[in-house]
């Protein structure tokens, strides 16, 4: 599904990712944890193609293509989805209209027919139901004036609609209270499936109580320094990141 090899990336002159390797198979949920400044968000952004990062080495093969040869929209059409840590507001742009345009551009790229208004509406209602969301957010402008929780829910809703093959959740838990976190996590869990992989980027173990990962990786100083099962997250919770740092120093 996704194979990242020897990834190095800069922000300005500073090297943030220093030889990152990661293999994600179909249907797998990988958690990437790490202290602040370890490169978690950079990794998410580099994969999805945000400007401002320089990839200096390595590759990220997704669905047979190197992501770094593609524009952000081409990656999205290939089935990559980034749930933003800070979803962006688009004043005046109706959420339904935005989603329909996005979905149809993805369908078109895949050689599928574009959905008309009626079938799109049907689809949207069905997805809302799965996520237990009410339809008030359809009438509003994209993220404009949304609370933190609403924004994150809207991200998950978009994911449900766009049906990505690989979803990257960038600190989706940040800024959420426990109820909102549960709603978002339930949504994510409802979207898990054998054909959909996920990379969950998070600072805290808390989110992983709700979204149970198959693998946990610890990112420090731009590299994955330890990988394991979900028990690794618990170990981190117990010992903190300092323990890992010490190990890196020792190595």
């Amino acid at each position: 599904m996704l194979s990242v090899k020897g990834l190095r990336a800069n922000v300005g002159d500073k090297e943030i990712l220093r030889g990152l390797d990661l293999e994600v198979g179909p249907g797998e949920v990988h958690a990437i944890m790490g202290p602040n400044g370890s490169g978690k968000s950079t990794f998410a952004h580099v994969l999805s193609g945000r400007a401002g990062y320089g990839v200096t080495a390595g590759s990220a093969i997704f669905e047979g293509r190197d992501l770094f040869d593609l524009e952000p929209e081409e990656r999205a059409r290939l089935g990559l989805f980034l749930a933003f840590q800070y979803p962006v507001e688009l004043p005046g742009v109706n959420n339904t209209y935005f989603l329909k345009a996005a979905l149809n551009s993805i369908r078109k790229a895949r050689g599928e027919s574009e959905l008309d208004a009626v079938s799109f509406l049907r689809l949207i209602k069905e997805r809302l139901k799965i996520l237990h969301l009410d339809d008030s957010l359809l009438k509003r402008a994209v993220n404009a004036g949304f609370s933190g929780g609403e924004k994150k829910r809207n991200e998950i809703f978009q994911m449900a609609l766009l049906e990505p093959r690989l979803a990257i959740l960038d600190e989706t838990d940040s800024g959420l209270d426990i109820d909102a976190l549960r709603v978002v996590a339930d949504g994510v869990n409802a979207l898990r499936g054998p054909e959909r992989s996920m990379i969950v980027v998070t600072h805290y173990q808390r989110l992983l109580d709700y979204i149970e990962p198959d693998y946990v990786h610890v990112l420090a100083k731009g590299r994955i320094i330890r990988s394991g099962g979900k028990e690794l997250a618990l170990e981190l919770e117990e010992k903190g990141y300092g323990w890992i740092d010490a190990e890196v120093e020792a190595a």
């Binding site: 193609g49 524009e71 999205a76 688009l90 004043p91 005046g92 935005f98």
Partner: protein, 481 residues
């Protein structure tokens, strides 16, 4: 990491509607003097009073000076090099139906996507299409006549309803008002006349398409709309022009008069040729548009989407004379390439409890220069007057400019004034967000810009709103934040 196409691309997008129709024109030689003014009037077979008014206006115009206060720059206009009259040939043989219309003309309209034929009829819209200066096609007049609505060219109105024209023309924008209005009063070629009698709700949207076609010919349209007490009319004006070399002067005058409880809604989508990449050959659009809310509780609403012209100088205004009258101005103006626009509105509050709303959205890209200039004046007798102004600018790229000049004069202590202004850029974050959802950059820009303009588009009649959105997307093709 991802290469973004240059901002220049948007400047390079060629004018889509640039082509010239070859039709023999009956054109006066260039130049302007009293004989030319008389000749225009004679060719149109106007009544005597009109000739006199034109001459009066011409003589006054000679004493006036070209305004220089607007933030626009252009070479001096040589008014003697302009031809002041151009009409499609065979004026004695005006068409009775579409079959009689010059096929080249119909083709032009079709290229522009103007559904003058059945589509328009099905849409329930009467069309008084102005090609060059003389109206050549009018439909649905029977239905309108049944309702008592007069919808015709100014020339026809001068023949058939001279008293109405005499009574109202120049009563809102007198020939002494400003330089271009003075010129227009002297040499206006044709235009539209609308009269809605007392208590009548006009049964359809009235629509006129203007098109400048003959080479080197100034176009001086004159529009006069009168809504009697308790009536309602919605008027749509849309323009495109063919590509050409010389600068073309367009100095129109629009006068609206709303009596007691009457409402006039005036919508414009303007897409005249903006000039080439160096700014050569675009239209100079120096227009005077003003509405007079004469009666109590009357309402005049201007909505404009301005994407074309090399230079725009335009301030659709409302004189709020009647007690409790309402003025509205909703505007989207786009400048790209080397376009310059100095546009806005004037809300003159004279009567008690009058209110006005101004929503202006300016979009500037490439090397576009844009100025919002608006005046809100609350007169000494305008007790309880209210105004809300919202003025937003959106910049695309880093070589364009946006200025805002709000003028506020308040002479009554009870006035309530609100003014909000913002300037923003399309952020990289917004673009990336859209692209990460599968939208390409152009669609993303178009979506964000349309969102920015939404409050104004909401004021346009449905089909016009669709057209405006399309126009905006075409205008900003290749734009990058």
């Amino acid at each position: 990491m991802t290469g973004a196409p240059a901002v220049e691309d948007i400047v390079r997008s060629e004018y889509e509607h640039g082509f010239t129709t070859e039709i023999e024109s009956d054109t006066l030689p260039p130049g302007l003097d009293e004989d030319v003014v008389r000749a225009i009037s004679r060719r149109k077979g106007e009544p005597e009073f009109m000739v006199e008014q034109r001459l009066k206006a011409y003589r006054h115009w000679l004493t006036m000076r070209e305004p220089e206060w607007a933030s626009v720059h252009y070479p001096r206009i040589d008014f003697q090099s302009i031809s002041y009259y151009s009409a499609p040939k065979r004026p004695e043989d005006m068409p009775k139906s579409l079959d009689e219309i010059d096929p080249a003309l119909l083709e032009t309209y079709n290229k522009l996507g103007i559904p003058i034929e059945e589509q328009k009829a099905l849409a329930g819209i009467a069309v008084d299409a102005v090609f060059d200066s003389v109206s050549v096609a009018t439909t649905f007049r029977a239905t309108l006549a049944e309702a008592g609505v007069i919808f015709c060219s100014i020339s026809e109105a001068l023949h058939d309803y001279p008293e109405l024209v005499k009574q109202y023309m120049g009563s809102v924008v007198p020939h002494t008002d400003n330089y271009y209005a003075g010129l227009n009063a002297a040499v206006f070629s044709d235009g539209t006349f609308v009269y809605v009698p007392k208590g009548v709700r006009c049964p359809m949207e009235l629509s006129t398409y203007f098109r400048i076609n003959a080479r080197n010919t100034g176009q001086f349209e004159r529009t006069l709309i009168i809504a009697e007490a308790g009536s309602y009319v919605s008027y749509l004006e849309g323009c495109t022009a063919p590509q050409r070399d010389e600068n073309q002067l367009h100095a129109a005058v629009v006068e609206l008069i709303a009596m007691e409880d009457a409402e006039i809604k005036y919508s414009t989508v303007q897409n005249w040729y903006p000039g080439d990449a160096q700014g050569r050959g675009g239209i100079y659009n120096f227009v005077t548009k003003r509405g007079d809310c004469r009666g109590a509780r009357s309402k005049i609403s201007w909505t404009q989407v301005e994407t074309g012209s090399a230079i725009t100088w335009k301030y659709p205004s409302c004189i709020l004379r009647g007690e409790g009258s309402v003025g509205e101005f909703y505007s989207v103006a786009v400048t790209k390439g080397r376009q310059q626009a100095d546009t806005g509105t004037k809300m003159i509050h004279i009567g008690k409890n009058t209110s006005s709303t101004i929503v202006s959205k300016g979009i500037s890209a490439g090397e576009g220069q844009q100025t919002y200039r608006g005046l809100v004046r609350i007169g000494p007798r305008a007790e309880g007057a209210r105004n809300h102004t919202q003025c937003d600018s959106l910049l695309i790229g880093d070589r364009c400019t946006a200025n805002t000049f709000p003028y506020i004069e308040v002479k009554h202590p009870s006035a309530q004034m609100e003014h909000e202004a913002t300037t923003s850029k399309i952020s990289d974050d917004q673009l990336f967000y859209c692209r990460s959802r599968g939208l390409n950059e152009e669609d993303a820009v178009s979506m964000i810009v349309n969102g920015f303009c939404k409050e104004v588009f909401n004021e346009l009649p449905m089909e016009f709103a669709v057209e405006a959105q399309k126009l905006l997307s075409i205008s900003l093709e290749g734009a990058v934040g």
